[in-house]
Symmetry: C2
Subunit: 262 residues, 2 copies
Amino acid sequence: MKVEHLRHIGKQLFAEIGKTRLKPFTSESLGKGAGGDRTFPIDKKAEDIIISSLQSLNEPLSIISEEAGLEEIKGGGRKVLIDPIDGSKNAITGIPFYCTSIAVSDGDSIGSIFMGYVINLLTGDEFWAEKGKGAFFNGERIYTQKDDIFYLIAYEAQSPKNDIPKIMKLLAEAWRTRCWGAMALDISYLAYGAVSVFVTPSLSRSFDFASGYLLVEEAGGVFTDINGKSIDSVEIGLKRSAPLLASGNKQLHEKALKLLNM
Amino acid sequence: MKVEHLRHIGKQLFAEIGKTRLKPFTSESLGKGAGGDRTFPIDKKAEDIIISSLQSLNEPLSIISEEAGLEEIKGGGRKVLIDPIDGSKNAITGIPFYCTSIAVSDGDSIGSIFMGYVINLLTGDEFWAEKGKGAFFNGERIYTQKDDIFYLIAYEAQSPKNDIPKIMKLLAEAWRTRCWGAMALDISYLAYGAVSVFVTPSLSRSFDFASGYLLVEEAGGVFTDINGKSIDSVEIGLKRSAPLLASGNKQLHEKALKLLNM
């Protein structure tokens, strides 16, 4: 299992799904996926492409995917965490901001992720990271923001009513806020240096942030839960586990934590 | 001056600018534009393409553009309102969500706009509207949301600290919020039916919302200032004029106004 395998899958997804322009609310749900959200044809199509491509590798793998749940190849092995379409709500309403996220782990917790891959399905732009080898955008090394100014704070809120008040003191200090609706892209653009801080007070699932976690770590950023606690030992799986905070560097992270705990 | 002229300009912009991937903060500002924001090379390049294309039409036109300010062709005539790059902050940090917006008016106020055009510079997708003839996405007629549920509320905030509290009661009722950082696209996707309500408590400039205004009106939506007052008589120009509220339909608009005035 190499980055090239994930890139090969990404290119297939971009070719087969990237040109899709869905009209708002014309897509019927196929029911709920293993991750608890509704599955739409676009999610299912992306997942089918990824899983069949992984099967053709002929390696023992344990797949954890938002729609299908758990699936073992050749008796199971390294864990592959898949979010076939991150930003499904954007995708099904025709908003051009969504991606696919794939992460690979040789253990049971977030800390054992050693490869992460995200492809923006609208532009074909790719982000990837390998443990100890750095983070990349279309093949070029990327780094997080260096100074401690809150130029841009990105957030996601599953419940605006409950979530925004929890982070309002932090948002208030941002030059600009963004809520793009695709967590893996929010985090990827943080690794890229375009986002100062990413925060989500809602509980997220490991496949939502697994690849982003490694991208941020390898690009020089900090990624913890919303209280500043390490998420390395968070178990990989389908259940919602942690509210998240990621920052371009330690100074930004400490400033953000202070505001969140005021 | 026909929609085809604007589409021709759009295709040029997409070809020459759409593939640009800027690295965060590597772009030096060229100083402040006529609209008060800083001008970056990408803004200037887009504006140059648009203005030289309009000049070649050989029609009397009065151009009002974010960077160049006022420019008359053949003694001046119909007003053309241009935002060369809407979502400049996204563009200059490498975030793939920005567009060009062009509107044409035969009078001095927003109500006299008779043609609006928006092109998403990342996907090449085009939105346009002609007064009395409807709103279109890539040539297909589009309509705003029909029911009165706040599925998705999009907002922009020039100052998160001042602006978000003003709209918090409305945001709290949304199933999801979005802040994409490109007002003309926010409004275009409302005309498309993907956004229930768009709100910005900051004062906006006429070229920021001119094309979106016609798109929403022609797609069946409602577009006023944040207090529900008509913006038809708002003067076209470079100065910041109105905080805005747009909704998919009258019921959504009334519900939103009630929450904003609580």
